[in-house]
Amino acid sequence: MTEALTPKAGQLPPRIQRVNPVAFSLSVAVAAFVIWSMTTAGPSPDQLARGLPNIGNILSRMFPPDFERIDRILWSLFQTFQMAIAGCAIGLVLSVPLGILAAEGLSPHPAIRTAARSLIAVFRTVPDLVWALIFVIAVGLGSPAGVLAIAIDVMGFAARFFAEAMEETDKGPREALSALGANRLGMIMSAVLPAAAPSMIATSLYCLEKATRASVVLGLVGAGGIGVELKVAFDLFAYQTAATIILVILILVIAVEQTGGWLRRKII
């Protein structure tokens, strides 16, 4: 954006250096677009003035939380977590070979690498809720659709990071195994995966956290889990029950995040 000016001996450099007119114009254009987006798509001051009391009203009607149906809610939460675990496990297992195929230097052919990268990009670009809608149509309402949606979403995230972790491993052990006549699979399993393991485990734990959060909302589109309970509670204006559901979801998400963080620190 700026061109460096060399200060003369004994002189302080100018506070603002020479500005590149093209870069400056682009910056102004970006700033203008941000402000325009906020004014057209964002809430108006009038909407905010009317909306905030409504939020306060809903929050006040949520308290105290109603624990009457806590056993059913906890069971539903447990099923949601199972959905996250299953989807995450399937996604992570499939991410390993997909990551290998997408990794430079490990993929058997550049065309296969491009295909694997493209597939990962598709998985990552389409939101999990859209995958859930697709799988609800494909396999019907319920947790199987949620598990598949989570698995695809996890693959879009984990396979990319797995590929990068494998690419970043020390090339020396690979070369040594190649020099002694090891085959490609032996080289990957013996030298690449063990070296990439800490990074891959950290990614996997993050995926579990992400899958837990996703599993909660997938129910809103009929893909099973506690999201269905939450939607029904709001539809019936049972805000105190909704508060209980939100509370247990919060506890689950925090527990998973804290456990994941602790495990990451232990492993890395």
Partner: protein
Amino acid sequence: MNVVAFQQTAPEGAVSPARSGLPAASVRGLSKQFGTGPVIMSGLDLDIHHGSRVAIIGANGTGKSTLIRMLVRLVEPSGGDIRLLGEDVRKLDAPGLKRLRSRVGFVFQRHNLVTRLSALTNVVHGVQSRMSGPRTWTQLLAPREVRAEAMNCLERVGLADKAMARIDTLSGGQSQRVAVARMLMQRPELVIADEPDASLDPKSGEEVMATLAALANEQDATLIFVSHRMEHAIRFSERIVGLGGGRVALDQPSDTVSEAELTRFFHHD
């Protein structure tokens, strides 16, 4: 424990240079140029006889490492012929090259071990020269005889007590000796070492070179090593080949040259 055989039987169809009387390595008119860069090697000829111990020396950039890497096509030559252990290296297809590499032990300047794994697992990896599958990926899954052989190799380099230690807990010298043990696990007919003493302190470097030379001597195996340390070149080889100007510029028995002469060769070159 039984001593591990250093030399394995050549794969079916391969010609043993020892039996045929052919040199272990024979290079004719070898040349190398990386892209459009300077010509590193031009018309290099060299014969290395079976069972001999040869030190390759030369100033930086004279192509020592490139030469020994080209012997097993870790670097592709630009021209010339290479015969190694009776094989025409440049004509080998991928499976043929894999078979040839399985007969050649390569020790690198850096140990090139998987640092998060144990010494024993790293040594077990050496068996991938003749086996494949999950049983060769970790000592946990390795068959009993493979584990025993790997332990034997570690014992021969004096590191049996470190078998379960992770590589990142070992010293540089110990790690390089584990790399030598991995090479032993391969049961190679020919050993190539690319400055195995370079990244080590003088004492550790001496230990590693002594281990390599002793093992080669013990089994009458061919040893080709690159070293920048003149005392190692003289002490651990029986022939010194000096590279300069892209060719062999010095070729003498080790017992006829002094460190001072070799140092002059470097400066002259």
